[in-house]
């Protein structure tokens, strides 16, 4: 029996549900945190989205049928929560005439929990200006090294489309980095 299966069995028993959920949080908190952080960029926003994701998971655990792996289901919820969060921000920003990409770059520059050097900042900015889907795919493939098949289940997109998105994302990041890299002092 896998660890996930043990967690799921314990979650179905009301007497062990809370303990099992604590175990689930402990197992997945860091992976989900870093997944969300790469999407929303800023720590405070990530904290909000992560908590909301776990609350959604708690509320929806009884409806989880095990058709996909627990990991995939959790990633899907965290991804959806992150996108919902960014869309809400986008709606609020309509009045201030800034778009989601600008918001992400501002978030990145104002984040006190960013320890990267100039080149890493440049790379993150290049990722921030990608369209939403390409940004998701790039992060999941490049940093998390998630397989296309798993990504396909999480994002509900075909493997072919994911490969295409990644290809375009890599090209755009490369162009952005090349055009801005000369401005960075060696």
């Amino acid at each position: 029996m896998t660890n996930d299966q043990q967690i799921l069995d314990s979650l179905k028993d009301p007497s062990t549900k809370e303990l099992a959920f604590r175990h689930l949080i402990s197992t997945y908190k860091e992976r989900l945190y870093w997944h969300i952080r790469k999407i929303v960029m800023n720590h405070d926003d990530t904290d909000d989205v992560l908590q909301n994701s776990f609350i959604k998971i708690w509320n929806g655990i009884d409806s989880f049928r095990g058709e996909s792996s627990l990991f995939t289901w959790l990633y899907r919820i965290a991804t959806n929560e992150s996108i919902t969060f960014l869309n809400q921000r986008k709606r609020k920003m309509m009045s201030s005439l800034t778009d989601e990409n600008e918001y992400l770059i501002e978030n990145l520059e104002s984040d006190t929990y960013f320890d990267g050097d100039e080149w890493q900042m440049l790379l993150q900015k290049a990722i921030a200006i990608l369209p939403e889907k390409q940004r998701l795919v790039f992060n999941m493939k490049y940093f998390d090294e998630i397989k296309y098949e798993e990504m396909s289940e999480i994002l509900g997109t075909s493997v072919g489309a994911l490969k295409a998105s990644y290809h375009h994302a890599v090209k755009k990041v490369e162009e952005y980095v090349k055009s801005h890299e000369t401005r960075i002092d060696p």
Binding site: Y113, L123, E174
Partner: protein, 152 residues
């Protein structure tokens, strides 16, 4: 078409070190905070916020209507009030003049009044002959006939 071996740009040869970090011991308390949030959800600001958000346009409209009403009705009231004050002033003046005449009548002393009554001055009424008066009353003449009679 999009095989990975074809994609190996320069930036990919660099170190993939995670440039982000978290506050110290952030993950230690995360489980407790989430369970606390699940057990005692933060008092929903949603209800009041939703109500305010729904009422916002209505309140804005009501405020605008009130403002317009005040702006329009104030000058009208001002003019109406001014008119009322003027007419009240007229009435007050009239009343005070009546009051003045009353005062002036009351200021006449008793002897003057008695003298006026008992004076020999002939009043116009006393000059009318009773017979003429009787003839006038029994004549049944209209105003035109009386006028032509006087003229003649």
């Amino acid at each position: 078409m999009y095989e990975e071996e074809n994609i190996e740009p320069e930036f990919m040869k660099r170190d993939k070190t995670n440039p982000f970090r978290t506050p110290d011991r952030y993950f230690d308390s995360l489980g407790d905070r989430i369970m606390g949030e699940i057990r005692h959800p933060a008092k929903s600001k949603t209800t009041s916020t939703k109500v305010i958000r729904l009422l916002k346009p209505v309140l804005g409209l009501a405020a605008s209507i009130t403002l317009v009403y005040i702006l329009i009705s104030n000058p009208i009231n001002h003019f109406l009030l001014k008119g009322t004050i003027n007419s009240q002033a007229d009435v007050t003046t009239a009343v005070s003049s009546d009051y003045d005449s009353t005062l002036s009548f009351s200021s006449i002393d008793d002897n003057t009044i008695i003298n006026a009554i008992s004076s020999d001055e002939i009043s116009p009424v006393s000059q009318i002959n009773p017979e003429d008066m009787l003839a006038y009353l029994s004549s049944r003449m209209n105003e035109v006939e009386i006028y032509s009679e006087i003229q003649n």
